[in-house]
């Protein structure tokens, strides 16, 4: 399913069944047909094309947001585990209270001062991901620091920095990858919610969340328009969750046995 979405996004870079931007008022509310696979919206835009272009948008936002969280969060987590002491304390207290600021809350603050925009939603989602990765990385890195092979490495005179990259990181990586898939799904949901509220991606850029927002005002006229974008989000998230479960089974057989 995730592959299907990636393919949709890739194809939409070159070709869509119609144009996602062209407004042809005479074609309003057309039913699905060969020309317009899923029909058209209130401005005569092709819904299938908008959905495909929207896929691009969701993927870009999610990739950037998860990467922000991944790089900063994992580095902080590794640092906390390597240094211990007050460094760890500061990083962990910091991540403690960032939990009080879910993506939507930070996005609300950011839009209030910077105005709405796609970049803000990426930032807000990314910021929220940092403590999630930091905690996870620190927790599993700590347990690996206590293992014999790390002791051996230390005894052979390797520095903390080198041990972190040669022994700790490879061992926590699988857990991080699984977490990244799950957060990717959450990022897609958050982006959709933000653009639904009008805080994220701005028109005329098609995005699933905003399509839903526009469709809602037309619910009485054309309920199907409110179905497709949501279905796209649900498929994307469902696929990513399954991918996460699958990856966990492959990368970490111990966890799957416990389940």
């Amino acid at each position: 399913m995730t592959a299907f979405l990636l393919i949709c996004a890739a194809i939409s870079l070159f070709w869509t069944p119609g144009s996602a931007y062209d407004i042809t008022i005479t074609n309003r509310f057309l039913p699905p047909s060969a020309d317009h696979w899923l029909g058209t919206d209130q401005f005569g835009r092709d819904i299938a094309s908008m959905l495909m272009t929207g896929t691009q948008n969701s993927i870009v936002v999610a990739v950037v947001a998860v990467s922000i969280g991944l790089f900063i969060g994992v580095s902080l987590g590794l640092l906390a585990a390597a240094k211990r002491g007050w460094t760890e304390e500061i990083i962990m207290r910091f991540s403690d209270f960032s939990f009080a600021f879910p993506a939507i809350l930070s996005a609300i603050m950011l839009t209030a001062i910077l105005g709405p925009g796609g970049v803000n939603s990426i930032l807000a989602i990314g910021l929220y991901n940092i403590p999630v990765f930091a905690r996870l990385t620190r927790g599993s890195a700590n347990s690996i620091w206590a293992r014999e092979f790390v002791m051996a490495a230390r005894a052979s005179g390797k520095g903390r920095f080198r041990i972190t990259f040669e022994h700790i990181l490879p061992n926590v990586l699988s857990l991080i990858i699984v977490q990244a898939t799950i957060l990717f799904a959450i990022a897609i949901l958050a982006e959709a919610a933000l653009s639904y509220l009008g805080l994220g991606t701005q028109p005329p850029e098609p995005s699933w969340g905003r399509m839903l927002n526009e469709a809602q005002t037309l619910m009485f006229l054309d309920p199907m328009q409110a179905i497709y974008p949501g279905l796209a989000i649900a498929i994307a998230v469902f696929g990513l969750n399954l991918l996460g479960d699958g990856l966990r089974d492959v990368l970490d057989p111990r966890l799957s046995r416990k389940r």
Binding site: R93, D96, F97, F99, A100, F101, P102, A103, I104, L105, I108, M109, L110, T111, A112, I113, L114, P116, A185, L189, A192, A193, Y196, L197, G198, L199, L212, A215, Q216, M219, F220, P223, A226, I227, P229, G230, I233, A234, I235, V237, F238, N241, L242, K258, R259
Partner: protein
């Protein structure tokens, strides 16, 4: 126990102060000039200066922060820039809707989660279990605001059983209001309930494998009695943790879903405030929501110790 609680209360206070400092920094220091944000970039210099003085923004940041904090403790939050009424009045009205909505949703999700989770665990790997877990996997993947729209289409437009949105106000009677909040809380509870149901199932299954459960069964206790007396209490610990974590998702979900149903709660208030550049309202609502999340997690921490006395002994 009292040492444990005292430690937790200290952490709670520190976290709350930390959160308020972050909000203050982001909302009042980062943009450089809140007066400019309110008036827009085209405003004349004099207008900006006048507003800066009117809002008291020319005073040093530390003093303003102190005023904000003492204001919160005394209920004096200042006036909304857009409506010229006390912020507290706006927030109070919104809270009277958001809190019942959040409580209704969390109750609904716990009821859903426990019944589905326990049923699935009791019928482990049978058809019922597999179907329910498939449905819950779907439930996790569905965005709550889309579910809300679907519920409106089904129950309000097609079946005409429930109102499509809006809130009549508590004066109109309890049941009318409950009806207005039913669809929103259902939309919120489905997603959170699906997550909790999966946790409940796996945690009950895990506890069933423990030695003490086998002992209880061996000494002749029935499956039912074991479930209630031994399994549930232990299995509830992870469920409680996740409920605490999910509360923040639920609260931000409320912000979104309130806008789907045009319910005048905190979510609608804060969104309107953003559009009106009413930063003082945004600031206070964000702090309020963050405080709610922090306090709920604090309560969960304390509840832990009540359910699981082992934690008290460690005095973490």
């Amino acid at each position: 126990m009292s040492v444990f609680i005292a430690k937790r209360v200290l952490t709670l206070l520190a976290t709350l102060i930390g959160a308020s400092i972050v909000i203050f920094l982001v909302m009042e220091i980062l943009p450089g000039d809140p007066a400019l944000v309110i008036l827009g970039v085209d405003a004349s210099d004099e207008a900006v200066r006048a507003l800066t003085i009117e809002l008291g923004l020319d005073r040093p940041p530390l003093e303003r922060y102190w005023d904000w904090m003492t204001g919160i403790l005394t209920g004096e939050l200042g006036n909304s820039y857009a409506y010229k009424v006390p912020v507290w009045e706006l927030v109070e009205g919104a809270l009277l809707i958001t809190i019942p909505l959040a409580l209704m949703s969390i109750t609904l999700s716990i009821v859903l989660a426990l019944s589905i989770g326990l049923y699935a665990a009791a019928n482990h790997n049978k058809a019922g279990d597999i179907t329910l877990m498939g449905i819950s996997q779907l439930g996790i993947s569905v965005p709550n605001f889309w579910l809300a729209i679907l519920l409106i289409i089904l129950f309000a437009i097609e079946l005409r059983w429930l109102p499509a949105g809006g809130f009549p106000g508590w004066k109109e009677g309890f049941w009318v209001c409950l009806k207005a909040l039913l669809l929103p809380s259902l939309a919120l509870a489905t997603v959170v309930g699906a997550i909790l149901a999966r946790i409940t199932r796996s945690s009950v299954l895990e506890v069933f494998r423990e030695d003490y459960v086998r002992t209880a069964r061996a000494k002749g206790l029935s499956q039912q009695a074991t479930l209630w007396r031994h399994v549930l209490r232990n299995a509830l610990i992870p469920v409680l943790t996740v409920t605490g974590i999910q509360f923040s998702a639920l609260l931000t979900g409320t912000v979104v879903v309130e806008n789907v149903f045009h319910i005048p709660g905190l979510g609608s208030l804060v969104l309107k405030a953003i559009n009106n550049r009413d930063t003082i309202v945004v600031e206070n609502v964000v702090l309020l929501l963050a405080t709610m999340i922090i306090v709920v997690n604090f309560v969960v921490d304390i509840l832990y110790a009540v359910i699981d006395p082992r934690l008290k002994a460690h005095d973490i």
